[in-house]
C-alpha cells in the first residue's frame, strides 16, 4: 500500500480530518514543495563567500584601498546590517522567536562577520589594544552573545561561543606550546561554565532552545581537556577517572534528553581512553587484537541494549 493510499484509508477511518487528509495528500503528491532549505543554504553560502572575498580583497589590496576606505566600507556594512536587524527585528522574548523573514538571520550574521573583519583590521593596523587579542575576543563574544539573544540567532550564538572559547584560551596554538596544563584548566572551566550556562538558562526558560548549542560546545571542550590530560600523563592517571566521570555524565544527559550525540561522544571518548590505557601496558600484538575484538563487541552490545531500551524512531 502506498502512502497516498494509506492517507486515504486513515481519512476514511476518521484518524485524519478532511483538511489534514487533503494537506498531507498534497504533500505526498508533491503538489506543495518547500524550497526553504535550499534558499537558506544559498543565503548561508552567499554570506560566507562574500565575507571570504572581502577579507581576501582587503588582505591583497589594503595599500591601494587605503585605511579610510576599508574602515568606512566595513563600518557601512556593519551599520546597514545591524540597522536592518534593529529596525526589522521582532521584540525580545525569552522564548523562541521566529525570524521576520528568510534573510533576517543571514543579514545579522553578515554584520557580525564584518565586525570581525573590521576589528581584526583595526588591531593589525593600529594596535589599539597593543596586540592583546584576548580583549577583542571577549568584546566580540559579548557582542555576539548579546545579539544572538536579542535576535534569537543560532549562527551568531555559535560565533559567540567560539569567540568565548578563544578568550578562554582554547586555541590550537596552545597544543604546540608548553602551556598544556593551562589549556586543560581553561578548557575545563569553559566546558563547565558552558554546560552550567546552557542548563541554567534553559531551566529559567531564557532561550531554552539554545541549550543544545551550549551543550555541544561544553561536551567537546570537557572531553578534549580530559583526553589531553590522559595523553600527557604516563601510565594510569587521575585523568582517566575524570574522563569516565564526564562520560557517565554526558551519557546520562544524552539518554535522559534523548540526544544520542552525547551518548555517542561518551562511548567514543571512553573507548579512546580505555584503549590508550591498555596500549600503555600491553605490547603483545595478539593480546592487543583480542582486546580490541572483545571491547569492540562489548561496546556494540552495550549500545544496542541502550538503543533498544530507549527505543526511538530516528
Amino acid at each position: 500500500m502506498t502512502l497516498h493510499e494509506r492517507i486515504r484509508d486513515w481519512g476514511n477511518k476518521g484518524l485524519l480530518s478532511p483538511e489534514q487528509q487533503e494537506g498531507l495528500s498534497s504533500l505526498v503528491r508533491h503538489e506543495r514543495l518547500s524550497v526553504f532549505l535550499e534558499l537558506n543554504t544559498l543565503l548561508y553560502l552567499g554570506v560566507i563567500s562574500f565575507i571570504g572575498g572581502l577579507g581576501w580583497t582587503i588582505n591583497t589590496y589594503f595599500q591601494e584601498l587605503g585605511t579610510v576606505a576599508i574602515i568606512l566600507g566595513l563600518s557601512a556594512i556593519l551599520a546597514v546590517c545591524l540597522g536592518y536587524a534593529f529596525v526589522n527585528g521582532k521584540p525580545y522574548s525569552p522564548n523562541e522567536v521566529q525570524s521576520p523573514n528568510l534573510a533576517f538571520d543571514y543579514i545579522l550574521y553578515l554584520g557580525c562577520l564584518a565586525w570581525s573583519v573590521e576589528l581584526g583590521y583595526l588591531e593589525n593596523r593600529f594596535k589599539i589594544a597593543g596586540g592583546q587579542w584576548s580583549i577583542y575576543l571577549l568584546v566580540t563574544a559579548i557582542v555576539y552573545l548579546a545579539l544572538a539573544y536579542r535576535f534569537d540567532n543560532r549562527f551568531v550564538l555559535s560565533l559567540g561561543l567560539s569567540s568565548l572559547a578563544g578568550w578562554f584560551g582554547i586555541k590550537s596554538s596552545f597544543w604546540q606550546g608548553s602551556s598544556f596544563g593551562g589549556f586543560r584548566s581553561m578548557a575545563f572551566l569553559y566546558g563547565t561554565l558552558m554546560s552550567g550556562a546552557g542548563y541554567g538558562l534553559a531551566y529559567v526558560r531564557i532561550k531554552a532552545h539554545f541549550q543544545n548549542t551550549y551543550m555541544n560546545f561544553a561536551a567537546n571542550a570537557l572531553f578534549w581537556a580530559a583526553l589531553s590530560g590522559i595523553f600527557a600523563a604516563r601510565g594510569f592517571s587521575l585523568w582517566y577517572i575524570v574522563l569516565f566521570a564526564i562520560s557517565a555524565g554526558w551519557a546520562y544527559y544524552g539518554s535522559k534528553t534523548r540526544q544520542f550525540i552525547f551518548v555517542a561522544y561518551a562511548a567514543i571518548y571512553t573507548y579512546i581512553a580505555l584503549s590508550t590505557l591498555f596500549s600503555r601496558f600491553i605490547h603483545e600484538p595478539i593480546i592487543s587484537m583480542l582486546y580490541y575484538m572483545l571491547t569492540g563487541a562489548g561496546m556494540i552490545v552495550l549500545l544496542l541494549i541502550l538503543a533498544r531500551t530507549m527505543g526511538r524512531e530516528s
Binding site: L39, L42, G46, Y136, L137, R154, L157, S163, S172, Y271
Partner: protein, 393 residues
C-alpha cells in the same frame, strides 16, 4: 532480491513520514501514536548518531579479528592471505545476512559487515593476483563496483550505488585511455544508467523506490558533471589554484575542451530545469551544487584572470538569487507558485538549519588563534574575531 520486502520498506517510509508530520505540527501527537499503531512493523530503527557509532565499532571489532587471525597463524602476503581474506569476506557477508534476517535495519552493524564483505573480497583478489597491471586493476574495480551495487540491490544501501559509480569512473583512468575517450565513455555509460533509472522511476508505484531512484539519478548527474568539468578532475585542476596563471597548453584547448566547457553550462541548466519541473528534491540539490561549481570554475575555464573580489560577487549573487526567489514565491497566491513555497513545511529542515547554526562557529575555527605573536609590519595576521575572516591584512 531485496532482503527487506516492499511492504516493509513502504511501512518504514510511512512511519518516518508520520514522525516528520508530527514534528512539523501537521498532525497531533495523539494522531501520531494512532497512525503508528496502524502501521505496525517488527523492524526498529535507531538514531543516526548511534548508527554511525555502531558502524565504527563493528568495523574496529572485525578488523581486530582479522589482525588476530593473521598474527595467530603468522599469515604473510600471498595465496594463503588471499584465502583468509576471502573467507573473512564471506563471513562478514553471512553476518550481514543473518542480522538483516533478524530484522536489523540501518543499525550500522549489518551495514558494516556488508561493506566489509565487499572490501575483504576486493583485498582477497588483490592478494591473490599481487599484480599492479592495468588489467588486474580493471578487474578489481569491476568487482568492487559490482559488489557495491549488489549492496544496494540486496540491502538498499544507496552509498553502495555511489561507491559503484565512483569505482566505474576509475576504470578508464587505470586503462590509461586518452582524456577525451575516458570522458566520452564515462558520460555515455552514466547516461545509459540515467536512462535506466528514469525508466524504473516511471514504472514503480512504491514511494520509497521513487525516493531511492531520485537519489541515484542525482548521483549519476553529479558524476556526469564531474566527468565533463575538466577543471575538477584532470591535470587542468591546478588552474583553479593559480589565481593569475591560466592553462595555455594548446593541445588542451581544442574542440573537446570547448565542448566540455559548454557542457558545464548545459548540464546544470538542464538539471535544474528537469528537477524543478519534476519537483525532485535530490536533483534540485545537485543542480544547485553543480551550478555553483560552474560559476566557480568558469573563469579558469576561459583562461580569464580571477580577482580577489570574485567570491564577493558570487556571494552577492547567491544572496540576491535566494532573496529574489523567496520574494517571487511569497507574492504568489497563498505564498506559492507552481507548487513551490519558500515557507518551511518539514521539521527536518528546521533541524538541519539548527545543526548548521551550531557547527557554523566551529567551522570558522577558533578565532584569533593566529594573531598572537604576529608582528609582521605587512599586517600578516590571521583570523579575526569569531567570524574567523581569515585574512592577512
Amino acid at each position: 532480491m531485496r532482503v527487506y520486502s516492499d511492504e516493509d520498506e513502504n511501512i518504514l517510509y510511512a512511519r518516518s513520514s508520520i514522525v516528520d508530520w508530527a514534528a512539523s505540527d501537521l498532525i497531533t501527537p495523539q494522531q501520531k501514536e494512532s497512525l503508528l499503531t496502524h502501521t505496525p512493523i517488527d523492524i526498529a530503527r535507531i538514531n543516526g548518531f548511534l548508527r554511525a557509532v555502531l558502524f565504527f565499532f563493528t568495523c574496529a571489532c572485525y578488523q581486530s579479528l582479522t589482525g588476530f587471525v593473521y598474527v595467530l597463524f603468522s599469515v604473510g602476503i600471498g595465496t594463503s592471505s588471499a584465502f583468509i581474506m576471502g573467507l573473512l569476506g564471506i563471513g562478514a557477508y553471512v553476518a550481514a545476512e543473518k542480522l538483516a534476517a533478524r530484522r536489523f535495519y540501518r543499525h550500522g552493524i549489518e551495514e558494516a559487515f556488508a561493506v566489509m564483505a565487499v572490501g575483504y573480497t576486493c583485498t582477497s583478489y588483490l592478494f591473490f593476483t599481487r599484480s599492479g597491471s592495468a588489467s588486474s586493476s580493471v578487474i578489481l574495480l569491476s568487482i568492487g563496483a559490482a559488489l557495491s551495487f549488489g549492496l544496494y540491490l540486496r540491502f538498499g544501501y544507496l552509498y553502495g550505488v555511489f561507491f559503484s559509480i565512483v569505482a566505474i569512473a576509475f576504470i578508464p583512468i587505470v586503462m590509461k585511455l586518452a582524456l577525451p575517450t575516458q570522458r566520452i565513455l564515462l558520460v555515455g555509460g552514466y547516461s545509459c544508467g540515467l536512462a535506466l533509472v528514469e525508466l524504473f522511476r516511471k514504472q514503480t508505484s512504491n514511494e520509497y523506490q521513487k525516493v531511492e531512484l531520485s537519489a541515484i539519478r542525482a548521483m549519476l548527474v553529479l558524476l556526469v558533471y564531474v566527468c565533463v568539468n575538466l577543471l575538477l578532475t584532470s591535470d587542468y585542476a591546478y588552474a583553479l589554484f593559480e589565481s593569475s596563471r591560466v592553462y595555455t597548453n594548446p593541445s588542451v584547448k581544442g574542440v573537446f575542451y570547448w565542448m566540455t566547457f559548454a557542457g558545464t553550462w548545459f548540464i546544470p541548466i538542464g538539471t535544474l530545469w528537469t528537477a524543478l519541473r519534476q519537483k525532485d528534491k535530490p536533483l534540485i540539490g545537485v543542480g544547485i551544487v553543480i551550478a555553483l561549481l560552474t560559476l566557480i570554475t568558469n573563469k579558469p575555464y576561459l583562461g580569464l584572470t580571477r580577482h580577489t573580489w570574485d567570491p564577493m560577487l558570487l556571494g552577492a549573487f547567491l544572496m540576491g538569487t535566494a532573496l529574489f526567489i523567496r520574494r517571487w514565491l511569497s507574492q504568489g497566491p497563498q505564498g506559492m507558485r507552481h507548487g513551490y513555497t519558500a515557507e518551511r513545511i518539514s521539521a527536518k529542515d528546521k533541524a538541519l538549519m539548527g545543526a548548521l547554526g551550531t557547527v557554523s562557529g566551529m567551522l570558522h575555527g577558533v578565532p584569533g588563534s593566529s594573531h598572537q605573536g604576529s608582528t609582521d609590519p605587512n599586517l600578516g595576521g590571521g583570523r579575526s574575531g569569531g567570524g574567523g575572516a581569515q585574512s592577512g591584512f
